[in-house]
Amino acid sequence: MNRLRVTLGLALILVFAARGFVLITWELRLAARGIGPETDMVTRAEARFRLVADRLPPRGVVGYRASGPLSIDRDYEIEGDDRSIGQFVLAQYALAPRVLDLNPGPPIVVHDGLDGIRVMAEQAR
């Protein structure tokens, strides 16, 4: 009786292992289809911001405007539409150690619009 129970127990584990194996193989196949730096939005954002980085101070606070309105709520979460939030997070990652400010005030502002990225001085705006 116990031999049967042990065999059943091990079979159960191996069945789930086989299932996991198939699942991971399937997901690996899906993942392998998209391999390439051109598919990664962070890599693309890095390349876009590299074009304007030398027009910004090497560090300090810089203004930032995405294509849609953004703000930080009292729970420290970014509020806005998904696209603009994504733009902001990628911009902050690419432009670090500069600190991006969504509020008015910084003399230099990065405009990350649908028509591209522009660096504008406060006066020009």
């Binding site: 159960l12 191996l14 996991g20 998209g34 990664d40 990652y93 600190v99």
Partner: protein, 479 residues
């Protein structure tokens, strides 16, 4: 890559040598157990040293690399001396003799094939998203960039305008990434990926090797297979978040405690190791503080009740000694740089009581947890529960009970997570949607460990079957 880059691995070597000193009488831990423990220790200690350098000396340059490598080389020599006495590998408690060797070979082949497939999956996901997923670019690797690129202004990483990047999150992972970039002298995306893969493999290796040391090789392999029967570990590992490192430190703490409970020679060293791993858990994510509190509470009750207050104080001293480096770093970080947790921001006693008294929030969380439990590996939890029922508990109470403290710690952590959801300031369905799977992953390796620690090995279950008729035969004989 600079010529100093290979020196980044000196802490790993030092950890491996130090782990050799974690002996039990004349026995020593296996190479895989030493390597699995060494990885987490190396990442944790090196992050503390990097943080101390930033605070005391500013921008880490060549002097940092030389000092860091020398410091860990000295620790490695200490470890080599402390662990130099030859010893036999830690013998498994569970009898192997009655169990066909071919089954162990099959289980070993399955476990290794699954780990190999997991690594391929990890690499494919990493090639797709070399900078990691959302939280990696929004929090963990962003912080590492500030620490590396900021130079002497590295503290800009905690600028209040970056509050959206969760400034209260502890620093083990960002510091580890920044350290690797410092050694490499460039921001290679392979550095955080290698760190993430290291933690993923170390979690798997630690589960297999710790279970093998405590309950036999078969049990270790079954644990390794069960852990990878769902793609979650390698998938989330590739995201470059701090959740897999946290899961590793949870497991490392509980494994070190269980190994220390079994060690007969000098278990105090294991208590120091447990303290270090628990400290590194708290230094990885805020959830680690909850885990640390749970570990301390459970050990207090378990040790005082079974071995008395004096034994507990001795153990607690060792634990506190191990805890000290990471805890000191964490306290300094919390006092100097971290704002209050977002989960506490804006929380008043009125809103807290209102949320605690709202039954709909409980219903929402319970439904989400139940759904997650059922979906986890498509019924894998039920399969493991059935496995436990089929094989029964470990035959000797002293062994069977070893999984209990770990299980209680995990239950307390899950209870803590539950009430964090109840009181969260975020929109609850959103918070559950984006975090529940990651929280489940924190306890998953430790849950497999605790379950299999208290479950009979196949050999034990078969031996029990043989012993029963013999016992009956003896009982039938006239006395």
């Amino acid at each position: 890559m600079t010529t100093t880059a290979p020196l980044a691995l000196v802490p790993l070597l030092a950890g491996y040598l130090l782990a050799g000193a974690l002996r039990a009488g004349s026995t020593r831990p296996s190479r895989s157990l030493r390597l699995s423990l060494a990885f987490g220790w190396a990442a944790g200690m090196a992050s503390c040293v990097y943080f101390a350098w930033l605070i005391l000396a500013g921008r880490p340059g060549r002097a940092y690399v030389a000092t860091d490598a020398a410091l860990f080389a000295v620790l490695g020599i200490v470890g080599a001396v402390a662990g130099r006495a030859r010893g036999v590998p830690w013998p498994a408690e569970a009898g192997q003799g009655v169990w066909p060797k071919v089954v162990v070979v099959v289980l070993g082949a399955v476990a290794i094939a699954m780990a190999g497939l997991g690594v391929a999956f990890f690499v494919a996901l990493t090639l797709n998203t070399p900078h990691g997923r959302w939280d990696a670019t929004a929090v963990w690797n962003l912080r590492a960039r500030f620490l590396t690129r900021g130079g002497d202004d590295w503290a800009e990483a905690f600028h209040p305008l970056l509050a959206h990047s969760h400034l209260d999150y502890p620093l083990l992972v960002p510091l580890s990434v920044a350290r690797l970039w410092t050694y490499l002298d460039n921001e290679s995306t392979w550095a955080p990926a290698a760190l993430a893969l290291g933690f993923t493999l170390a979690t798997w290796g630690l589960l297999v090797s710790a279970l093998a040391a405590l309950r036999g090789r078969t049990q270790g392999l079954i644990g390794g297979i069960a852990l990878l029967a769902t793609p979650q570990l390698f998938e989330h590992g590739s995201y470059q978040f701090a959740d897999v490192p946290l899961a590793y430190y949870f497991l490392a703490t509980l494994a070190a405690q269980a190994l220390g409970d079994r060690a007969e020679g000098d278990p105090l060293r294991w208590k120091v190791a447990a303290g270090m791993m628990a400290g590194f858990a708290a230094w990885t994510k805020n959830e680690g503080l909850l885990f640390l509190a749970a570990v301390i509470a459970v050990r207090l009750v378990a040790v005082v009740a079974t071995r008395g207050r004096r034994a507990y104080l001795r153990e607690a001293a060792g634990f506190a000694l191990g805890l000290a480096p990471a805890f000191a770093a964490l306290v300094y970080f919390k006092l100097r740089f971290s704002p209050s947790s977002e989960l506490l921001a804006g929380l008043t006693s009125g809103t807290l009581l209102a949320k605690l008294a709202d039954p709909s929030r409980y219903g929402l969380v319970i439904r989400a947890v139940a759904s997650e439990s059922i979906q986890w590996g498509s019924g894998l939890l039920a399969a493991l529960a059935a496995y436990r029922l089929l094989l029964g508990g470990a035959p000797r109470p002293a062994v069977a009970g070893r999984g209990l403290p770990a299980a209680v710690v995990l239950a307390l952590v899950l209870a803590g997570y539950f009430f964090v959801y109840i009181t969260t300031p975020h929109y609850l369905p959103w918070h559950l949607q984006w975090s529940l799977t990651r929280l489940a992953l924190h306890v998953w390796p430790s849950a497999v460990f605790a379950l299999l620690l208290g479950t009979a090995t196949p050999a034990e279950a078969l031996a029990r079957a043989r012993a029963k008729p013999e016992a009956q035969g003896h009982a039938d004989q006239p006395r």
